[in-house]
Structures are given as C-alpha cells and as structure tokens.
C-alpha cells in the first residue's frame, strides 16, 4: 500500500471543442473536483486512469511516473487506479463475488482472492449478494458492490465519478459514512466528482473547481470563504 504519496496531475489536452489545461495535487484524502458539465472533469479522470492520453504534462504518484509527455505512458492495467464509473460498470455476466475478485492481483491464489472478495462484500454489508448477478441488485446494493470491487483491488488511487448521484438521501449518507471510514483507514489519494454540496462536505478535504478546462479555484473544504451554496451554483 502506498498510502501517503501525493498524486500530482498536470495535463494539457487539446480536443476539437476545447483545451483542458489543469494542474493540481491530490493528497491522501479526498479532493473534490467541481465544475459544470463540459468543464473537463471526466476527461481529467480519464487521463489519470490512463484511458485518455494527454498531449502534454505529467502524472505521477510519489516516485511512480504514470504519464510523461516525453515517455511512453504506463498502461491502464498497471496503474492500479480504482475507477468507480457513474454507471458503476459492474460486469453483468458475473456474480458480485466474481466482480469483486476480478481486480485482485492474480498472483494471489484463487481461494484467497475469493475469501478477500467475500470479506469486502461483507464489510460493505452486501455479503448476501455474493452469488447473485447485478441485474438483481437495487441501486444502493449495486453501488456497494462497485465500491467493494474498487476497494478490494487495493488501489493506489481512487477515482469516484458521481457514483452516488442515483441514490436517495438516506442510503447516500450511510454509504458516504462507509466510504469515509475506508478512506480514513487506507489513506489513498482520492478524487470525487460530484455536483452535490453535501457529498463534498461529507467526504472532501480539498476542493478543485474547474471551468472550461481550467482550474479556477482551489481551497480546503473548511475554508470560510468557500461557501457550499456557491459551489452548488458553480456545479449547475
């Protein structure tokens, strides 16, 4: 576990419609990425995960360089970045247990991988779903399985792309608390993309606000000059 390392992000990416040009540091803990749709949040996550190759810049975690404009970038599968997609992207043909064990290093014996998957599902309080497939899950259950899958792979960084947006308030608070617990234990640099002030303040330590592909503001979540309604307005 590489807990304690910072994730440094510097990205320049030209697309037909706009230019993404951002630089920020993600400390262990949660950095909230805020901004209107089209501000470049998802592309930023894509670059960090290795799905999109930036034109210029450098992405590194501690001394591990994931992307450097002068070198070949580290392929997606070797970055060990857990990416929880908005759609969750659970594998529909696999049981919850197989979904969760998919990301566990294959050097570990199969029985051990299964046990770890079971443990993680139980920790996320969906142990009873282990042998069931995603189409039978409720929204909240699917979210728990997706998070279990992300945690079980022992990620070096965690990217959460609005994973809580489809949940009702009660379920969301419960889940936020559990994610908060895991993050406090594992100390992994985490980026949370959200439009919701309450998610930001429940999980976030730091806020990076994007607009039209640029960072327009960075602040600690408890910065008195950063009022959450303002964030909410910016998110719309």
């Amino acid at each position: 576990m590489s807990g304690g390392d910072n994730l440094s992000v510097r990205i320049v990416l030209h697309t037909r419609s706009f230019t993404l040009d951002v630089a920020f540091e993600v400390k262990p803990g949660v950095t909230v990425l805020f901004g209107p749709s089209g501000s470049g949040k998802s592309r930023t996550l894509g670059c960090i995960a290795g799905i999109v190759r930036p034109d210029k810049g450098r992405i590194s975690l501690g001394s591990d360089v994931w992307f450097d404009e002068t070198r070949a970038s580290l392929p997606i599968q070797r970055r060990r970045v857990a990416y929880v997609f908005q759609s969750l992207a659970l594998f529909p043909h696999m049981t919850a247990e197989d979904n969760v064990s998919y990301g566990i290093a294959r050097t570990i014996p199969k029985a051990e991988r299964r046990a770890t998957a079971h443990d993680m599902l139980a920790k996320m309080r969906v142990g009873h779903l282990a042998d069931r497939k995603p189409h039978t899950f409720s929204g909240g259950e699917a979210q728990r399985v997706a998070l279990a899958r992300a945690f079980a792979m022992k990620p070096k960084a965690l990217l959460l792309d609005e994973p809580f947006s489809a949940l009702d308030a009660g379920v969301k608070l419960e889940l936020l608390a559990e994610v908060g617990d895991w993050l406090a234990r594992e100390r992994v640099p985490t980026i949370l993309v959200t439009h919701h002030a309450e998610e930001a303040s429940a999980l976030g330590d730091h806020v990076v606000m994007l607009e039209k592909g640029r960072v327009v503001r960075e602040a600690a979540i408890d910065d008195p000059t950063l009022s959450l309604p303002k964030i909410r307005a910016a998110a719309k």
Partner: protein, 221 residues
C-alpha cells in the same frame, strides 16, 4: 437415396465453420476494437465474398491454392494431397462463403458491449486480451453463437465456388448442392426433391435458432 452427398456437406460445413470461426472472430475483434490504417480495406475484403461472383472467387482460389501455386505446392508436399479438386477444396470454398457472415455478425455483437465495461476491466488490472476474453466475448456469446449458426447454414449449401475449386466428383467432392444439380440434370427429380427438402428444413431451423438467439430478452444480463 444416397446419403453420401448430405453427409459430405455436413462434414465440409462443420470444418468450414470452425475455420471461419477462428479467422472470423479474430478479424472481427480487430475491426471492432482497433482503429488502424487499412481497416476499411480489411472490412471490404472480408465482405466481398457475399457479393462477388462465385466464379471470380473460385478463380482467385485456383490461382492462390492451385497445384502450381506456392501455397498449393507446399500443402501438397506436406500432406501428399492437393487442395483443389479434393474435399479440402470444398472446405476452402465453404469457408470463404461463411467468413463474411462470421466477421459481420461477430463484429456487430462485439461492438454492442458497453465500452465502459471494457475500461472498467482494464482499470481493474486486466490486459486488453484478458478484458476481451473475460468481458467482451462472454457478453457477446449469443451473437457469436448466432453468427456461427448462420455460417454453418451458408457453408452447407455452397455451390459456385465449390464447383470451381473442388469440382463435382461423385463420392469425393459432390456435396448436397452439387448432387441436387446433377440429379436435376439427370432428371432424377425425386432424389433432388428429398435433398432439397432436407436442406430447406435445416436452413430454416438454423435461421429460427439465430432469431431466438439474437432476440432481446428483457431480463437478459
């Protein structure tokens, strides 16, 4: 009735379907998952047998695999038998007919996979190859099965290219389609009718199966 031609057709079509599956799935995966120069050309080449005159296709096969060609000669010195005017030739002909169906249908099935699922697999540590075999292919199994059934239906009835490449040698390369033609020529209509009925029922059954496999099920996945 002589069952020989029908059995030969099944044997040829089974081998041809397996060959078309191996080559066709690989080509379909390439076309579905990669952008590269020449991609459209490959697509055209593998679709062409659907519309190209069988005589033209047969001509190309004779030129590339005939006894005097490099490949044909190499095959003959390895196995002691030539490709053309043997059952191997009939298999080649049926494979050529089946390939476009495999490439087209498998590609469509692979392209239906939600790309986010493949990316999720990659972020979870899977190489491209592992993501392909553990996520993309399993989610496309019904489409792939349907493609192979279509391919078999097509392969079992090939006529033109088979005639060009394998000839119409009774007991050796005379498949059901060729036997029907010969029976009609010889005015043995009853014999022709039996084989026509058998082939018709089989093809219709296969198409019915394909329809069942590719129909959307609400509770699927």
């Amino acid at each position: 009735m002589d069952l020989g031609p029908l059995l030969l057709s099944f044997e040829v079509a089974t081998i041809a379907t397996l060959l078309a599956a191996v080559v066709g799935i690989a080509v379909a995966a390439l076309l579905a998952n990669y952008r590269f120069p020449g991609r459209d050309l490959i697509d055209v080449v593998f679709t062409a047998p659907m519309v190209m005159p069988p005589t033209v296709l047969g001509y190309y096969v004779l030129v590339t695999l005939g006894r005097r060609s490099v490949l044909g000669h190499a095959f003959e010195s390895l196995t002691g038998t030539s490709i053309v005017f043997t059952m191997t030739g009939a298999v080649v002909a049926a494979t050529i007919g089946a390939l476009p169906l495999v490439v087209k249908s498998v590609r469509a099935a692979l392209e239906q996979t939600d790309p986010t699922l493949i990316l999720a697999a990659r972020t979870l540590g899977a190489t491209k190859l592992r993501a392909f075999f553990t996520v993309q292919v399993p989610l496309a199994t019904r489409g792939i099965a349907a493609a192979l059934m279509l391919a078999f239906a097509r392969a079992v009835g090939d006529f033109g290219v088979t005639l060009m490449v394998a000839g119409d040698i009774p007991g050796k390369t005379r498949t059901a389609s060729l036997a029907i033609y010969s029976a009609i020529q010889a005015q043995h209509e009853r014999e022709a009718t039996t084989m026509v009925v058998i082939l018709t029922v089989m093809v219709l059954a296969l198409l019915y199966g394909v329809g069942k496999l590719t129909a959307r099920r609400p509770d699927d996945r």
